[in-house]
């Protein structure tokens, strides 16, 4: 079997976000970028399934500017076999990304597509579900446990009420939750080896799909700041404040 795993380059999750003063967006100049965290879980799970012998090939794909290729290199360094970089210089909405991924799926014919459950930049939580719908495939979102069978997967999903188990026939789209696994670090020899693994290049606008954005970003602002509160000296004072000042207990 074959897995296509999609990775996205985003502002590193440890970076304090700075909103541009002119309201045009978030500052990305000289800011540390990395792979979207749940995408690392998607890569890790793909590689684990390959190590179990059930999966023969793992192909990592990214869509974005030149440097987005770093995320594919990282996937190759932890065990993906080869990469695909679909070049795009501007932001593309999840709808357009899903259309591009559908083209890649049609070419690669994987049995499964793995993605992170959500990108931590635009927080859309759409791409995997949209891709599944476009391919007319089943999906499992927020996956925290995956059991691969011959023609299906049994997947435990994290939902608001607790956990849900579903069985989806192959081929299927899986979006991965942070608790699915513990992503490994690449060893130096593997990083060196990954440099020799092939990365196919494509160009988004040559794929013959409509990727024009439909949603216009009018402005981006900082959220209203909470004013700093006070420190209380002891528990008795805390309870008294909550009872008599805030009146919440």
């Amino acid at each position: 079997m074959k897995i296509l795993v999609a990775v996205k380059r985003v502002i590193d999750y440890n970076v304090q976000i700075r909103v541009k003063e002119d309201g045009s967006g978030v500052n990305t100049d000289n800011v540390k970028m990395s792979t979207n965290p749940p995408d690392d879980n998607a890569v890790e799970e793909s590689v684990k399934l390959k190590e179990s012998g059930k999966v023969k090939e793992v192909v990592a794909v990214t869509i974005g500017e030149e440097k987005a290729q770093e995320t594919v290199r990282k996937a190759l360094a932890v065990g993906a076999d080869r990469g695909i970089h679909v070049k795009a210089d501007t932001y593309i909405e999840p709808l357009g990304i899903a259309k591009i991924l559908k083209k890649v799926v049609e070419k690669e014919k994987p049995d499964m597509v793995f993605l992170g459950k959500q990108a931590i930049d635009d927080d859309c939580n759409q791409t995997g579900q949209m891709l599944a719908a476009m391919l007319n495939w089943p999906q499992a979102t927020f996956s925290s446990k995956i059991t691969l069978k011959d023609k299906s997967m049994e997947i435990v999903r994290e939902i608001d009420e607790g956990l849900e188990t579903v069985e989806v026939n192959l081929p299927a789209v899986v979006t991965c939750d942070l608790r699915l696994n513990e992503p490994r670090y690449a060893s130096l020899p593997n990083i060196m080896k990954a440099k020799k693994k092939p990365i196919d290049q494509m160009v988004a606008k040559d794929l013959g799909v409509d990727i024009a954005n439909r949603v216009q970003q009018l402005k981006v602002v900082e959220p209203p700041k909470r004013k700093a509160g006070i420190k209380v000296a002891n528990v008795a004072e805390l309870v008294s404040k909550l009872k008599n000042e805030a009146k919440v207990i």
């Binding site: 476009m134 939902i159 608790r179 009018l218």
Partner: protein
């Protein structure tokens, strides 16, 4: 033109967040219709029809919709979407799961997780885990929108009498099946809607020590929350997690105990009306957003807190 809202329910009752979503839908357009898709779900349709803001209920009852499988639900929504300009649902694991499938089928770009309706085509939504707010305008003819429930007040539940129309089911693809759901049972209020939330972090040091949190929660009739660190360390199950990758809560009182205040956690609770932080590290970021901060060892402070609460004559419920 009108709005089609997809109800979240358990086949017996509407889930509370559907009421918040109805409020948001009514700000987009007053003509709010609700689609109830379920199995043996007559009472849910009746409850939806009783909400005064709802003008019509579309009810589709079939075993295929019992467990809200997105592969089954999305074609039904798409089938009945023709007359509507907006298709809306809550931005929780229910709405997030199926709505993008509807948007893809309609070739429309979804607007996720809105916290404000400026006009029928312009919305405010948090990005970067709530570290920035984007105002966005959708240029699609048909708009799929998911709503952050805690950013809107729940609609009044009773007094209305909307018409209930039975609607046809859609074909189902039969390539996915529901196996089981393990809902965490609790005597306490639900985390997403509780008036008071008491949360523990890695500072608790073990699952057993969450008893200290539970005791306070019971006294205050509060829900129990946790940071991702506490969940990842195995102290408590994931459905208690508050934060970017857990639940977003907006209680009247949020008490964070042994939680340092990682960006990921703050994203889930910083809109709470009153925030209390109890932490032994005076430099912890949680103090910068707390209304009342107590720099103390939680293992001493929590028992004291409980005994002070016990001294009070009355506690608000």
């Amino acid at each position: 033109m009108s709005v089609l809202l997809i109800a979240e329910h358990n086949n017996k009752n509407l889930k509370p967040f559907t009421l918040n979503a109805i409020t948001a839908a009514s700000k987009i357009d007053a003509e709010v219709h609700v689609l109830v898709a379920g199995s043996g779900s007559e009472n849910v349709a009746k409850e939806a029809a009783a909400v005064p803001l709802v003008k019509k209920v579309l009810h589709c009852d079939s075993p295929n919709y019992q467990n809200y499988l997105p592969e089954n639900l999305a074609p039904l929504v798409t089938k009945h979407s023709e007359k509507y300009d907006h298709i809306v649902a809550s931005a929780n694991t229910f709405g997030k799961n199926f709505m993008p499938r509807v948007a893809a089928a309609l070739d429309t770009s979804q607007v996720s997780d809105i916290i404000k309706v400026n006009s029928p085509d312009t919305f405010v939504r948090p990005i970067y885990a709530g570290n920035a707010f984007a105002t966005v305008k959708s240029n699609d003819k048909k708009r799929c929108v998911t709503i952050r429930p805690t950013s809107f007040e729940p609609a009044t539940k009773t007094g209305g009498s909307a018409q209930i129309d039975k609607v046809d089911a859609a074909d189902v693809p039969n390539f996915s099946k529901f196996v089981k759901r393990e809902e965490t049972k609790s005597e306490r209020p639900e985390l997403g809607t509780a008036r008071i939330v008491v949360s523990g972090g890695r500072g608790l040091e073990s699952g057993e020590n969450f008893k200290l949190i539970n005791d306070i929660a019971d006294k205050l009739n509060a829900a129990v929350g946790a940071s991702r660190a506490a969940v990842d360390a195995g102290y408590i199950s994931n459905d208690h997690q508050v934060g970017q990758t857990g639940k977003v809560v907006v209680p009247d009182l949020y008490i964070a105990v042994g939680i340092s205040g990682a960006i990921q956690h703050l994203a889930g609770m910083k809109e709470s009306k009153i925030i209390v932080a109890i932490n032994k590290d005076g430099e912890a970021p949680i103090f910068s957003i707390a209304d009342y901060g107590l720099e103390a060892d939680l293992f001493k402070a929590l028992p004291e807190f409980l005994s002070e609460l016990n001294k009070l004559n009355t506690i608000q419920k």
